[in-house]
């Protein structure tokens, strides 16, 4: 294992311009705000946060579907901008949330899975066909489905097709954007097991985006918590789940409903609603919802503070050395 992270973001921001109403003035929306992250080879980085926090924008930047407004994305230490997009797509592949809308209903499974091979002009028809059968076998689908169409398959089978399509180019990094949230629980566990097996077998690196913290805890090695475009806390999975530091991380963890009868529904104390990203709150963007907010929180944006295995952005840890959260 080399020390160079396989994927690195350096101060990446993405600003969209949006108009409110027909005559509204165009205003900037910072979907991703100065994010720095790095993924080591074989790591699974879980990215969690509420809808609208910028998770999917970040995924699009990593896939090269959006260019960052500022900052750099590095693959194996080389800047992504300027590199051939097609060549990059061999190394970074996506698995999307909804296997009902991410597969072309007019194409056979064979066409769908072999498309990356044809785009990259790898092998002739016979070897492509062979490769498709191999990859279908790896993701647990019988080779006869190659001639089927997406409409003939169940949700779990479709997600396996999506995984087969992502893996046929032997990518190093797979961006999984809510890969199991459209699936039933019994199918979800099959797909999670498959993703775990494939990671072991092919040494894959995942960015795993999910709002299901139980799933993230199960699969991830590191977790980044995103709020209004910023990574407010990043830590190893054990640290985050056992001693989350940021009040927002703790609120997220408290809202996980474990199957324990009699415990009732937790009170997350996240009173106010998620803020409008067009006019983010001053200072720390989380302060209007934070139970531990202090006077300076509405004035000064917190700086990232390094912790033993990550960072946290919160004024609670400004002057004191990082200790375990109470």
């Amino acid at each position: 294992m080399s020390d160079t992270p396989v994927l690195e973001l350096r101060n990446v921001s993405k600003t969209y311009t949006v108009k409110q109403g027909i005559f509204g003035k165009p205003r900037p929306l910072r979907a991703v705000n100065d994010v720095s992250l790095s993924l080591g080879r074989g790591e699974v980085l879980g990215l969690v946060g509420e809808s609208g926090c910028g998770k999917s924008t970040l995924a699009k930047i990593l896939l090269g579907l959006e260019a960052p407004s500022e900052g750099q994305v590095l693959v194996d230490g080389r800047a992504m901008t300027g590199q051939d997009r097609i060549a990059l797509s061999r190394r970074i592949q996506p698995i999307f949330q909804d296997p009902y809308s991410s597969l072309n209903p007019r194409k056979s499974i064979e066409d769908i899975v072999s498309l990356p091979l044809r785009v990259h002009r790898i092998g002739d028809a016979a070897s492509q066909q062979k490769k498709v059968r191999e990859i279908l076998d790896i993701v647990g689908l019988p080779s006869r489905v190659a001639r089927s169409y997406p409409s003939q398959m169940s949700g779990g089978q479709r997600q396996r097709v999506a995984i087969a399509r992502a893996l046929i180019m032997n990518p190093e990094i797979v961006i999984c954007d809510e890969p199991t949230s459209a699936l039933d629980v019994s199918v979800q566990s099959q797909i999670l097991n498959l993703l775990g097996d494939l990671r072991q077998e092919f040494g894959l690196t995942y960015l795993f985006i999910s709002h299901n913290l139980a799933v993230v805890e199960h699969l991830a090695t590191r977790v980044a918590v995103m709020y209004l475009g910023r990574i407010v806390e990043e830590a190893g999975v054990a640290t985050l789940f056992e001693e989350a530091r940021h009040p927002y991380s703790r609120a997220l963890l408290e809202s996980v409903l474990t199957p324990d009868p009699g415990l009732g529904v937790p009170d997350t104390q996240l009173g106010a609603a998620y803020p409008n990203p067009i006019s983010p709150p001053s200072g720390c963007a989380f302060h209007p919802r934070c139970a531990s907010a202090m006077p300076q929180c509405s004035q000064i944006a917190p700086k990232p503070i390094a912790t033993s295995d990550g960072h946290v952005e919160c004024h609670l840890y400004d002057d004191a050395p990082i200790r375990a959260a109470s």
Binding site: E217, H218, S255, V265
Partner: protein, 333 residues
């Protein structure tokens, strides 16, 4: 709760004619629900749980055939009720919260109009009174600046707010029964917890009976008094939330519980339990246990009629050939 149940269902059966034959979507389900009680119906897609809720409300598509020995709502026989009677019940005494607040609110009317409509239809109130009640309920469901929301349209609200509006709308006439079909599935976990808390609090306050339909076992465990596990159109196991989660008996229930990772309990990265196979086709004749093709406890007798067993306490019922849900090998000396 020794009084009569507010809702009593016996042998509810739903058949859908399809090109390939009749689809037996729901086959003979029974349950009782008392005031102040929450019943969670849990099952995967295609189990018939949403159809069941629509059948109770009398909102099924015309081509779906409903039959039952009894659907009794507080003394009213819903099987014999006229459309007029049903209209008087729906929205007033029994109401429904749907999964998708975006598609179930009318985009062309303001929040205020949609909230007031329920009350204007069912009660003799003035517009001003209806609006006042709408503000009261919006505040109750935790919406700030309620007065100003009345003139807003659904698209101007976030998903969480829309779902709160749906709940407020369902509560306008203080119903005695509320049916919530996956009310938090489309929401963020933080909002989910808030909405569920709100529902539970309001239900206690108004002593409503609630049927909550969900596929999320975490939600079930935290909210339910009674749980009904539905598989392929049948209730395979029913019981108190404690019984279902602490002593799950049916192989399907046990399988489902093993499928979900639980922070702090499931070993990180370990393989999760799975249920092999897929839901059987319910078109044509359906015999025996619908789960037997996926069940690791299956025996030959599973193809025959399946008996109902009472477990430890008399509210815990299991539909399985094995009296405790486990196959015991014959002891042959």
């Amino acid at each position: 709760m020794s009084n009569d149940p507010i809702l009593s269902v016996r042998d509810l059966t739903l058949d859908i004619p399809t090109a390939g034959g009749t689809l037996h979507a729901v086959r003979g389900i029974d349950f009782d629900l008392h005031r102040g009680e929450t019943l969670c119906i849990v099952g995967e897609s295609g189990s018939g749980k949403s159809l069941t809720s629509l059948a109770l409300m009398g909102l099924l598509a015309p081509k779906i055939q409903r039959s039952a020995a009894r659907i009794d709502f507080d003394g009213t026989d819903l099987l014999k009720a006229s459309r007029r009677q049903l209209r008087h019940l729906r929205g007033a005494r029994m109401s429904m919260i749907f999964q998708e607040p975006m598609t179930s609110l009318n985009p062309a009317y303001t929040i205020g109009d949609q909230l007031a409509e329920t009350l204007l239809l069912h009660r003799k109130v003035s517009r001003a009174q209806a609006r006042a009640r709408a503000v009261e309920l919006l505040e109750k469901v935790g919406i700030t600046a309620a007065e100003s929301r009345l003139s807003q349209f659904p698209h101007q609200l976030s998903g969480g707010l829309r779902q709160r509006v749906m709940i407020a709308m369902a509560l306008m006439c203080e119903p005695e029964l509320i049916i919530a079909d996956e009310p938090t599935t489309a929401l963020d976990v933080t909002i989910q917890a808030q909405i569920l808390r709100l529902l539970v609090d309001l239900q206690r306050e108004m002593n409503m009976a609630m049927i909550l339909i969900t596929h999320d076992l975490g939600v079930v465990a935290r909210v339910a008094d009674k749980v009904a596990v539905m598989y392929a159109g049948e209730l395979v196991e029913t019981g108190s939330a404690k019984a279902i989660f602490r002593q799950p008996a049916h192989p399907y229930t046990r399988g489902l519980i093993n499928c979900i990772p639980v922070p702090g309990r499931t070993e990180r990265g370990a393989r999760l339990g799975t249920i092999p196979g897929i839901v059987p086709s319910l078109v044509g004749e359906v015999n025996g246990c619908p789960f037997r093709g996926r069940c690791d406890q299956a025996v030959d007798a599973c193809a025959n009629a399946i008996p109902l067993h009472q477990l430890d306490d008399d509210t815990h019922e299991l539909r399985c050939v094995h009296p405790d849900g486990h196959r015991h090998e014959e002891v042959t000396a």
